[in-house]
Amino acid sequence: MPVAQIIFNALLLTMLYALVSSGLTLVLGIARIVNFAHGALYMLGAYVAYYVFQEAGLPFPLALALSVLSVGLFGILIDKLLFRRLAGQFFAAVIVSLGLVFFVEGGGALIFSEQERSIAPFVSGNVDIFGATLSVERIIVIFAGAFVMLALFWFINHTKQGAAMRAVAQDSEAATLQGVNFNYTSALAMGIGAGLAGFAGALLAPVFGVVDPYMGQTIMFKAILVITVGGFGSVPGAFTAALIIGFVESFGFWYVEHWVTAMLFGLVIIVLLIRPRGILGKEYIMRH
């Protein structure tokens, strides 16, 4: 396989991981929860896209928008109903988020049936660059992903809400004293994080071609890898780590196949033991 192809795949993976992990790390840094059900949200986004685009035949951008909205709202719902009530009880929140994995994936299996469904690509055609055959669809996905990541960076760094989020991530008490509404900011973070996961799920569904209720599990593992290496709570860190892991996986897969994932997990375990705060993360302060 030509190097260009491997690089291209790496970029695709980078975008996927960046989108999903940013959401996860955002929620972690602001709402202070490790949402293990994040992968399940990705799955929900994919299924919304399936029903809107594949089953109902509606245009793909509409499917994307609906995924973001519905999963984002679902995220806010979970936050209000469950996580807000457990504010400060870290252990209980973790248990609940683990329970949610069961709940959402189990519910998905029940409603959608365990059988995997296929989705047709949203645009067809290939392009030849540097000897590699790249599908137009994937090129669009990479650019769409990059665009959303840029939008996210802009939002966090140049809007009032983004500033509020950064303040809460750094010191929630001080932020509250400055007039930031913690609950609102947390819910917003949850909504955006969930929306990102849903977006990624919907965007990548036609690319991977299949959806099944447990597809969130693999992505969850990768997302945890990424935020661990990149640093808890750091969005730029998540992006950097996504880049690293995307490339390691793409090149690694080509040479060592199955053992790539094993390698990656080994990497995570080592990172956690040597530098628990990751590349760009600050020492994560746990609220007990």
Binding site: V94, F221, I224
Partner: protein
């Protein structure tokens, strides 16, 4: 207190004599699952008591299970030796892994054990010797002892009951002694424990090894019971199930809680005929309800009901006083 004791004795009699009353293989299978799930939940809880939430308990069960399968099939050793040996192997691996892992704080430990369980599954799935994608098939039954040849579920039933008894007695001894106090004090406040001279890392390793030991011997039992050792028995989802049993049952009771949790949830699934597909959903719903409304688990229910009745009575008393005043 009196009622609790009678209840426990009643349950024990039921458990011990059960198979003699009805030896329907289906129900024995269900209760066998309840019993070994209890062992897993109890041993998991021990690790939680030292302050570490492990998501790798199923993986350690897998270590014991696969070790046992290999020892018996490849080395031709008797199951009765393989059983404790697998437990020991699991404990040693836990000791080795625990050395770096237990130094790591709560959330990081959670993530590492999660990653470890995943890694474990991937390794077994991709290594033919450990089973590969299909798993190890043809794992033999335990070697016969006289007439007990394990052709009937009753034999397995009493075996797992015996193992559960060993577990309960061991844990009971630990928790009622100074050792248990040391473990729980580490879980409650590590720094305070350090300041009064408790060698935290040493005791954490001991507790972790003991917990994983019991996971290991359960794994050994399981693979010889199912005659099969495959990765799907040892996934992170299984680890989650174990956790749910312990928490739903009640973490406040270190032995009773996990047993109550495992039996309640598994029997509930059977009695209500909940389809396998809906099981995670139902369990999750129950877990979340417990966290919000009955934090101390099902085992605290009698206490809670008593408290409510008392409050109700007092309320009525006050109303009556108002009437007569």
């Amino acid at each position: 207190m009196q009622r609790k004791l009678t209840f426990i004795i009643f349950c024990l009699i039921l458990l011990v004599l059960g198979p003699l009353l009805s030896n329907q293989p289906y129900w024995m299978h269900v209760v066998i699952i309840c019993i070994y799930s209890s062992i897993l939940a109890m041993s998991w809880l021990l690790i939680l008591k030292i302050g570490h939430l492990s998501l790798a308990h199923a993986a350690f069960m897998g270590v014991g299970g696969i070790a046992s399968a290999l020892i018996v099939t490849k080395a031709g050793i008797s199951f009765w030796l393989a059983l404790p040996l697998s437990g020991l192997i699991t404990a040693i691996i836990a000791l080795i892994l625990g050395f770096p892992l237990l130094r790591v704080k709560g959330i990081y430990f959670l993530i590492i054990t999660f990653a470890f369980n995943e890694l474990f599954v991937i390794i077994i799935r991709n290594w033919k010797f450990l089973g590969g994608y299909v798993g190890l098939i043809g794992v033999p039954r335990p070697n016969a002892i006289g007439a007990i040849d394990f052709s009937s579920k009753v034999h397995y039933y009493y075996l797992i009951l015996f193992l559960a008894a060993v577990t309960v007695i061991t844990l009971y001894r630990i928790y009622t002694s100074r050792i248990g106090r040391i473990f729980t004090s580490i879980g409650e406040d590590e720094d305070l424990a350090r300041s009064i001279g408790i060698d935290v890392i040493r005791y954490k390793l001991i507790a972790f090894s003991i917990g994983c030991f019991f996971a290991g011997i359960t794994g050994s039992f399981l693979v010889h019971y199912l005659n099969f050792a495959g990765a799907e028995l040892f996934t992170t989802w299984q680890s989650l199930y174990i956790q749910i049993y312990a928490i739903v049952g009640g973490m406040v009771s270190v032995i009773g809680g996990p047993i109550v949790g495992a039996f309640s949830l598994i029997l509930l699934t059977e009695f209500l005929d909940i389809p396998i597909k809906a099981q995670p959903l139902v369990y999750a719903a129950i877990l979340i309800l417990i966290i919000f409304f009955l934090r101390n688990g099902l085992i605290s229910l009698p206490q809670r009901i008593l408290a409510w009745r008392l409050r109700l009575l007092r309320l009525l008393e006050r109303n009556i006083k108002h009437e007569t005043a």
